[in-house]
Amino acid sequence: MASTKAAGAEIKLRNSVGSFAKNAPDLATLGPVIALVLAGLFFSIKSDRFLTGGNFSLILQQVMVVGTLAIGQTLIILTAGIDLSNGAIMALGNILITKLAVDAGLNPFLAIGLGLLACTAFGLLNGGLVTTIRLPPFIVTLGTLNIAFALTHIYSNEETISDLPAALTYLGKTFNVGQTEITYGSLLMIALFGIAWCILTQTSAGRHIYAVGDNPEGARLTGIRTRRVVLTVYAVAGFIYGIASLLLVSRTGVGDPNAGQTDNLDSITAVVLGGTSLFGGRGSVAGTLLGALIVGVIRNGLQLIGTKSIYQVLITGILVILAVAIDQLARRRKA
């Protein structure tokens, strides 16, 4: 009798904890929104130039490259992986596209195609090493980071490539919405976020990515081909890095072998600020877009109010720790 009573009480207790925890994910998704709104409010009070269409367009252009890298990074982190090589892969794509088009005189579209192909191949290499030899993604991508970096410098001879054909910088061109000029590149980034969001939330493939990151063995036992899912994710991420390299070309107007050296960490920052868990299985690309915008808004706002940009790095560092701490606490409560 007593034991049944105790069991009943235990179930009740669990249920109340359950309903409390039900509201916890809302905090995880609301966190980045709150941070972005607070940063926006702060800077619009401090500077009258912040709340303008032109400034928003500028922020979008500033986050365009890292934001696009962060889409691929999100997919990989959702599978409980990590990609340190994305900035270096992008730099390689950047050099390949520009050098093939300028020095080798290839048709610009063919050069773009080859650049995308090379980035996808690097993603496939990452995924192949992770799934077949089962090396930790951290180590694999640390290796490919160095390989891609070296290839970039060997192939480019440390030289910056300029005088690009117009087709390569087309995404840097703008169109007007009212008084505001928006680049095609920012639009492309937002479209990519939209596509990634649809795939992750509305398709089986998306559900499987979450399941693989959440409980890989469980996912395998339910019949999901987990290795194929992970391999595809890395390859798709590589392709997205290729698009990021094209965006980089259009934004800078040159092929720079030293581009993107901190973009790997910046993309991880955006993902983490967006509330995606580094342990995999939970998070969203919508959060990643917010995370990228938070960094962009803070950097832009500090510039507008005339503060040294190094403070943006300081604030970002604090926010990253906060975001991960919130994720950890939420997980601990549910464990």
């Binding site: 049944t4 009943g8 179930i11 039900k22 979450y210 959440d214 409980n215 019949g223």
Partner: protein, 283 residues
């Protein structure tokens, strides 16, 4: 009176001749003959036989390392045996992965619960076989039919009397028993032939264990035979129609819980009663 049924000494199992004796029996849903699985020096299955009949709950028990898990993994496609044969309704089959077994209507509830905690109940129920929207949205864009999955998940839950209402809450918000309910409901919903449950009550309290045992009976009463792997002897004696006793990678005996006591079963399990000797129960 003999308490053991289908009792065969290991020698006769290996001899090959008696194996064909009852093959093709109509009431055997799933059968295994002479399964062998080795990992290096370790032999997990050493010529293991198995049979499951129509409409029964068959408990599989055995000491640690007796090869219960390997047997069940072989039957559910999670492990490929080195030797031996598996037959479904008398037809030889080969399972290369759990999906193969599932195609034959065999669903498994795994001990470590193959649920994704961060995903919601409906998603977990349909994980790996999601429903897509009708028309081009589903066919070409592979868009999920979330309302249909939610609806069917609700129906299955109420059919099995699992008291879960919100199909959109993450599984991690559920209690251990409720999570087990989700895993069992998923298996019951998709199983065409039989359900395998690996230690479904291992992590549960008294009351939740009772609920899961009820669930097992309900599934059997729906016409699906159940293979129940359990360490818990009282649970086994409560729900099982027959008990398969695994020892040293083989089937040591099959007994009826009505004609056999727990100590007798334990004796066979641990080898205290020689499997080559006379039948233990009621002897």
């Amino acid at each position: 009176m003999r308490g053991t049924m289908d009792y065969r000494a290991p020698q006769t199992i290996d001899s090959g001749a008696p194996q064909t004796a009852d093959s093709g029996r109509k009431d055997i849903v799933l059968e295994a003959r002479g399964l062998v699985k080795r990992y290096g020096q370790v032999t997990c299955l050493d010529g293991c036989d198995f049979d499951l009949r129509v409409g029964e709950v068959l408990a599989v028990i055995g000491d640690n390392g007796a090869g219960k898990s390997s047997l069940i993994k072989a039957l559910s496609g999670a492990l490929i045996p080195d030797e031996g044969q598996i037959l479904v309704d008398g037809e030889p089959v080969r399972f290369h992965n759990p999906t193969d077994a599932r195609r034959y209507g065999i669903e498994t509830v795994y001990q470590d619960l193959a649920v994704a905690p961060a995903l919601d109940i409906a998603t977990n129920m349909f994980l790996g076989r999601e429903l897509r929207r009708k028309g081009p949205l589903g066919r070409y864009l592979r868009i999920l039919d979330k309302p249909a999955m939610k609806h069917q998940a609700e129906q299955e839950m109420s059919k099995l009397k699992i008291g879960l209402r919100s199909m959109t809450s993450p599984v991690e918000n559920l209690s251990g028993g409720q999570r087990q309910g989700v895993a069992v409901a998923r298996a019951a919903a998709f199983a065409q032939r039989l359900v395998i449950m690996d230690e479904p009550t291992a992590a549960l309290g008294v009351r939740e264990t009772g609920q899961v045992l009820d669930l097992i009976r309900r599934i059997r009463d729906r016409g699906l035979p159940v293979i129940l792997i359990s360490h818990n002897m009282p649970n086994v004696f409560e729900v099982a129609d027959r008990i398969h006793i695994q020892r040293l990678g083989r089937r040591a005996a099959v007994v009826l819980p009505t004609e056999c006591t727990m100590p007798e079963v334990v004796a066979i399990m641990t080898g205290a009663t020689s499997t080559g000797g006379p039948a233990p129960a009621g002897a």
